[in-house]
Amino acid sequence: MGDEATFDKFRNCAVEVLQVPADKVVPDARFGDDLDADSLDLVELVMALEETFDVTVDESELEGIETIGQAYELISAKL
């Protein structure tokens, strides 16, 4: 896992793209159930994260990613 500043950046992305309050962006939050995000939202989020962190996420890597924590691990592992 990355540091706190990295997670802040990640959270800001999620807040902006998903239009959810920052306190809802927690590791256990599920994209579908807790954040009301559909597949198009997730594509948008991934694109925003790729831009913000200057990383590339392959379509196949997104399989099974259902929570904020999982997504954050995926991104921070690339930094």
């Binding site: 239009q19 009301d36 198009l40 694109m47």
Partner: protein, 264 residues
Amino acid sequence: MDRPTRARKGDHAVTDEQRPENGRVVLVTGGSRGIGLACARRFQALGDRVAVTYRTAPPDELRGKEPDTFDLLPVPCDVTVPEQVEQAVAAVEAALGPVEVLVANAGITRDTLLLRMGEEAWHEVIDTDLTGVYRVVRRTLGPMVRAHRGRIVLISSVVAFLGSAGQVNYAAAKAGLVGLARSLAREVGSRGITVNVVAPGVVETDMIAALPDQRVEQLRSMVALGRSATPEEVAGAVAFLASDDATYITGAVLAVDGGLGMGL
């Protein structure tokens, strides 16, 4: 580029209050002549801010009253070159703002019977008429998704459904647009974005003028209304699909062919 403010979920209807006073930002590809230019003029008459792409030089029709001015925003763009699509849309966004209405009209023909149709003629037409639409749509879609509004109209052709000897490449590309539009309509329907297809028949344009007279007469004889269309008659249908009267129409194919295809 600043991201447009994202609308709330379910906030789909575009009301007059939400609409900027100076009209919508409209991009028409292949907008320097024919159907594209007629569409551009129609949106302009509705008070929209309109950009048109052209391939070679901005034609005289676009010249404004003052020297070196244009009454439509002309942007150079060969839709077969991804970098040019990026630059063209970025130029429109910088000058007018994010594209709210996209009319994908740019297209070419390279007619010959299949037996004589080489790979080049096939690829050239597919790359412009089908892949070119993919490129422009993909580049303009993001801001529409974030804004929760947008209208996309793809200009197909009656020959997508009727078939046309000597136009295997063109008919295939134009038929492909229907699958593109309907799939995309499902992808972005939740964002209030509509994606529709207009399928013109025999329209008085340079493209038809290039066909053999015999073929044009043959097509015209099959038209219920017994005449060809003006580009303006196609533009009317395009403007309708982009209007507030068409909020519940998506994934549709609107034939504007004088009764040539009739439900095909």
